[in-house]
Amino acid sequence: MKRLQPLLPFVGVAVLLAVWSLTVWMRVVDPVLLPSPFSTFRAMWTGMTSGKLGLDFLKTVERTVYSTAIAAVIAIPLGILLGSSEKVYRSVEFLIDFFRSTPASAMFPLFLVLFGVGDRTKISVAAFGAALVILFNVAYGVMNARKTRLLAAKVMGASRLRVLFDVMLLESLPQTFVGLRNGVSLALVIIVVAEMFIGSQDGLGHSVFEAQQLFEMPRMYAAIFAAGVLGYGLNLLFLLVERRFVHWSGK
């Protein structure tokens, strides 16, 4: 039994594939709406290797990476600055919480006016959403630095600046990574939605939407799965980076 333990995560996948195949085989759902797993994965394979899906995938990766990077570059230093003084943070907390709660998709028309139709709008809306999530997490990470650790540094004679760089910054890293993971997920959501509508020519969102319009169901499912793979992969990537560089997280 023990030796089979590592296989547990695959049980759910196998059950899903089995139920899906059975549904198709028993014709519970119209086969036009639900293609078989085989034809879906074949569409995914050909799309990724020789079709347009691979290009769309890369486009979405590019936009998500850009927006997350812009968000991180702005939000991490700002979060540290705000978090290092609780009074400053409290004075802007409402604004951050308000815009964090505002659906970023509601900002599309505004950003369209500002940046026109094209990548700049998509990337800046996604960056806007991700930046607030990252900012909030970084600021809280800095503010919630263990009091004892700050006192320990102070007792050893560290200046305020040294405490900030030697302790607060490192203390906030685990929370910063939580922010980055949430931020990249949100950026991906916004990018995919943006690719569906405003004058898009490429990207996974466009691919899903176009396949649906053309009633090419295997291709649509393939694009959905590709988006899933991307989201999961980005999250995993950040987790691995965190485990490598923030080795003390959760210990």
């Binding site: 004892t148 320990a152 007792v155 050893m156 004679g157 490192l170 890293l173 210990k251």
Partner: protein, 274 residues
């Protein structure tokens, strides 16, 4: 206040002491007052900490044992009063502080070695000298810990030992320990008492230990400061002169038992007053 008056040595001029003057008190506390919201924890408190002795602070819960050393070490501001080390303020002296919660006091992103060397880095000591000084301290104390490990890879006792070494690396004039062993299991506590006693015998640094364990307080100390409920007074400053190194056998000697019983008596009298 009568008790506190009899303890404080008469030194109205409070002149700057010559540090080599070994019989002068190391730390003089005069007119210390501290309030937390409505409660006066200290009200015009006077006390002298003798030089080169290990003293323990013991008293009822919430009487302000930790607050006292936190104020002496400058972690908490005082409302009124003066605390001087050989006539100097805390900002002018080198001291070490060991926290109860070693897990939160260590820097988990630094290896044990770099944790110990961190105060030297703050002082701008070169890497070569940092390595040399940590090596010297390790040899001096006979510590057998792999210092290349991160704190979370060490046992609780090892972590606390590392944090004691971090406090000692600057050759402090005085070492404060805030319930340093209370988060450890009994076996580790016994071991750590031996380690601390050894450090004290090796370095003869003035040490102020806050303890909630009377056995530990008496066993380790030259003098035990018994505090009253707040506003805290020094009820008694009990002397215990058993020769060092003290061992587990020391704890069954008549002298130890009677000192501990006396402290417990005073303690219970103070607790009942509340």
């Amino acid at each position: 206040m009568a008790g506190a008056q009899s303890i404080a040595t008469a030194d109205p001029a409070r002149k700057v002491h010559d540090p080599t003057h070994r019989t002068a008190p190391h730390v003089t506390i005069r007119g210390l007052s501290k309030r937390f919201s409505d409660t006066a924890i200290y009200d015009n408190f006077d006390f002298d900490i003798p030089r080169g002795k290990l003293i323990s602070v013991f008293g009822p819960n919430g009487c302000g044992k930790s607050t006292l050393i936190n104020m002496i070490a400058g972690l908490f501001p005082v409302d009124a009063g003066e605390i001087l080390f050989d006539g100097q303020p805390v900002s002018k002296i080198r001291f070490g502080y060991v926290f109860q919660n070693y897990r939160e006091a260590m820097f988990p992103w630094l290896r044990a070695f770099d944790n110990i060397a961190y105060p030297l880095r703050l002082m701008g000591v070169s890497k070569a000298e940092r390595t040399a000084r940590v090596g010297k301290l390790v040899a001096h104390l006979g510590v057998k810990i792999d210092l290349a490990l991160y704190p979370y890879q060490l046992s609780g006792g090892q972590q606390q030992l590392v944090s004691i070494m971090r406090a000692l690396i600057v050759n402090p004039e005085i070492l404060f320990l805030d319930e340093p062993f209370s988060a450890l299991d009994y076996e580790m506590t016994l071991f750590m008492r031996e380690q601390l006693q050894r450090v004290f015998m090796e370095t003869a640094t003035t040490m102020v230990l806050v303890s909630h364990d009377l056995e530990e307080a008496v066993y380790l100390s030259d003098r035990i400061l018994l505090l009253s409920r707040h506003p805290a007074r020094a009820v008694e400053f009990v002397a215990y002169d058993a020769p060092r190194p003290r061992t587990l056998e020391t704890m069954s000697e008549a002298d130890f038992i009677s000192t501990k019983a006396h402290c417990l008596d005073v303690f219970q009298r103070e607790v009942r007053k509340g």
